[in-house]
């Protein structure tokens, strides 16, 4: 069932159509700078004030909404579906405008390749090409699973014919369970994107540092691949630090090794955090946490890097803290918070 509603942003004097969609996603599709980040109800960046009309939530009781929001008629744009025309108030910002406007398409699984014991690369051919910026993510609606999940692409999106995702299997996760255990090549699902602001800045005249852990592999690989291929960044070094608990989690080197300039200007450092675990026996590389290793390796040079990072919430917070301490300007830090 299709339902078209007219949404008016009163404070910006702007109107857009929301066609069987959520309010912030429809706004971003229309080219507006509607604030958002996670797209799945967790981060709260897409809050807006409802002045007139009524909305229903896609995901019931999204975590980012508080009692105070409810009292002030504030809703999450990424989860709110209009029930008829609505008038809202939200601060539009250019930062949130998309270069490639997100769309919903069908993705057909062409290949699934194991990267580690719990990370697998899923490759989808799109029903129509959809370009994206390296580091961006898509929303995947897995067959038989309610609600979409956000996953970052690992390939580069200059032609947009295929989107590849390196996804880490979540224990007891419904969506990754459907993808890992039931999805077969030739089967299709809905993809929606591209989204996200943690994309490669080709105009930034600095060396690049990619810090990744766990599922943060995918966007960091995309960034490194695009940076290696970018004429504007041909003289820049790309430093890639990837952390896992034991050596079985370590991956990514084979993806970087094939890039032009590997070892000369592309540098890979794997890090194992559970060095005392029997599973880490024989590991001769760096040990500890990604943020500590990056701090020790690069020290005062950090402030001169363009830094991209992705990983579990605890890692992202530790990295942010370390970068602030190292006086890296906020404008040089790029990550999407999914919490």
């Amino acid at each position: 069932m299709s339902s078209k509603s007219k949404i008016t942003i009163a404070n910006a004097n702007v109107e857009f159509v929301c066609d069987d969609d959520t309010i912030s996603r429809a706004a971003v599709r229309a080219g507006l700078g509607f604030p958002y980040e996670c797209n799945v109800g967790e981060c709260g960046n897409c809050r807006f004030e409802l002045l007139e009309g009524d909305v229903a939530y896609l995901r019931e009781n999204p975590p980012a909404i508080t009692e105070r929001d409810a009292q002030r008629k504030r809703y999450l744009g990424c989860q709110a579906q209009p029930k008829g025309d609505c008038t809202i108030k939200v601060p539009l910002r250019d930062h949130y405008k998309s270069k490639h406007l997100p769309r919903k398409v069908t993705g057909t699984l062409t290949q699934a390749i194991d990267v580690t014991h719990d990370i697998r690369e899923f490759r989808f051919a799109l029903s129509e090409p959809l370009k994206f910026l390296a580091g961006q993510y898509g929303l995947i609606t897995a067959p038989g699973v309610a609600g979409a999940r956000a996953y970052s692409m690992c390939n580069t999106g200059e032609d947009g014919a295929e989107w590849h995702f390196q996804i880490r299997k979540t224990p007891n996760g419904a969506a990754t369970g459907a993808l890992f255990d039931r999805m077969k090549t030739g089967e299709s699902l809905q993809l929606d994107g591209p989204y996200g602001m943690a994309y490669l800045r080709e105009d930034a005249p600095r060396d690049i540092l990619c810090l990744g852990g766990g599922s943060g592999l995918s966007p960091m690989v995309s960034i490194a691949r695009a940076a290696a291929a970018s004429p504007a960044l041909k003289d820049r070094h790309i430093h890639f630090v990837y952390g896992g608990r034991t050596p079985a989690d370590i991956c990514g080197e084979d993806m970087l090794r094939v890039l032009p300039g590997y070892a000369e200007r592309i540098h890979y450092t794997p890090v194992v955090s559970m060095a005392d675990d029997p599973a880490s026996a024989g590991w001769t590389g760096k040990t500890g946490f990604v943020h500590d290793v990056a701090e020790a390796l690069y020290g005062e040079a950090l402030a001169g890097f363009e830094v991209y990072f992705a990983g579990p919430p605890m890692m992202a917070q530790a990295v942010t803290k370390m970068l602030i301490k190292a006086k890296v300007p906020a404008a040089q830090m790029h990550f999407d918070q999914f919490y």
Binding site: E37, N45, P91, R93, Y96, T320, K321, I324, A330, M333
Partner: protein
């Protein structure tokens, strides 16, 4: 490097214990009046899209009403998470009835 002085508003535009948002050039600023003294920081929270000029003020601290993090209005330092990156503050000069920043 020459310092540029930018007029933001009149002193009477900002009530005591309150804040207003001022857009000038590329800057979006929050101008605070604490007991007659003026303080200016970037209006957009370093953590998300929240507007600090709309946040509740408790003493020297402004709370972002998006994620409930908070900053010291005088220094921009983080007081409460989830904000982690200090807010950029500006040097304020009051001349007559006008509030300026040096940028």
């Amino acid at each position: 490097m020459s310092v540029q002085k930018i007029e933001l508003c009149k002193t009477a535009d900002v009530d005591e214990g309150a804040a207003i948002r001022v857009e000038t050039g590329d800057l979006s600023l929050a101008v605070f009046n604490l007991n007659g003294a003026f303080y200016v920081m970037d209006d957009t929270c370093s953590h998300g899209p929240g507007s600090l000029s709309e946040g509740p003020i408790h003493g020297d601290v402004v709370e972002c009403d998006f994620h409930n993090g908070s900053f010291n209005i005088k220094t921009g330092e983080v007081v409460d998470p989830p904000c982690m990156i200090p807010q950029k503050t500006y040097k304020v000069v009051v001349e007559g009835d006008a509030v300026f920043i040096e940028a």
